[in-house]
């Protein structure tokens, strides 16, 4: 299980490949890896989005993400989990979040990946502030995930 906050852009597909390669125990063990990558769109609520600042609660954010992953590990038979989340200044098109779950069979990976992402959205203390052509605004809620 690995959880990271990054204040610079990251390549989610490179991270996935590197993580699998580094986890020697995974090779040959997993039959399924389900992933979610969320990226910053350049349009929201009809307005052009020029960028975003992601604030978090240092210490609590990592702790809550850890708890979310631990809960998933207790609910599904997972071989590994990876969560990478951006903080700081983000440009449109850049990945914001990567969630991945590895398991022997697809059901656990699919279900855990989805649940991890939904729990992250509703519990991990992050806050998005959009930068628009004519100012800034805080995102005040999440769209429905289910």
């Amino acid at each position: 299980m690995r959880i990271e906050l990054r204040d610079t852009p990251f390549d989610p597909w490179g991270e996935l490949a590197a993580h699998e390669q580094a986890q020697v125990g995974l090779t040959g063990q997993f039959g399924a890896c389900a992933t979610f990558v969320g990226s910053l769109r350049d349009l929201n609520l009809g307005d052009e989005v020029h960028g975003m600042t992601l604030e978090h609660y240092p210490g609590m954010t990592e702790r809550e993400l850890g708890r979310i992953c631990t809960e998933a590990a207790g609910r599904w038979e997972l071989l590994d989990q990876l969560v990478i989340h951006r903080v700081g200044a983000i440009e449109p098109g850049e990945p914001i979040v990567l969630v991945a779950a590895w398991s022997r069979h697809r059901r656990e990976a699919f279900e855990a990946c989805r649940a991890l992402m939904e729990a992250l959205k509703s519990r991990a203390p992050f806050w998005k502030k959009e930068h628009l052509a004519d100012g800034e605004r805080w995102v005040d809620g999440n769209t429905a995930g289910y």
């Binding site: 969320g38 609660y57 702790r63 809550e64 979040v97 959205k121 519990r123 991990a124 992050f126 806050w127």
Partner: protein
């Protein structure tokens, strides 16, 4: 007998500060800490509360040395 208070995101901007240190008596709740830290402002109903990096109810007791966080609904991912 002090408590560290932290505000985040839009709440931090509305209050004009990112936190405070407040003195407490022997019995205090997170809601009491809010009132002290904000000079008696009513707490908006959607505000989330944490004590020592754990989510809690606004009526949870706070001890000296605790860190109490107040923040709006989260929007990560």
């Amino acid at each position: 007998m002090s408590v560290t208070v932290k505000f985040f995101a839009s709440l931090k901007e509305q209050l004009g500060c990112d936190g405070a240190t407040v003195e407490i008596g022997e019995v205090a709740t997170a809601a009491d800490i809010w009132l002290q830290a904000t000079g008696g402002k009513p707490m908006p109903p959607n505000i989330l509360v944490s004590i020592n990096l754990e989510y809690c109810d606004r009526n949870c007791p706070v001890k000296p040395g605790d860190e109490v966080g107040f923040f709006p609904p989260v929007t990560g991912g």
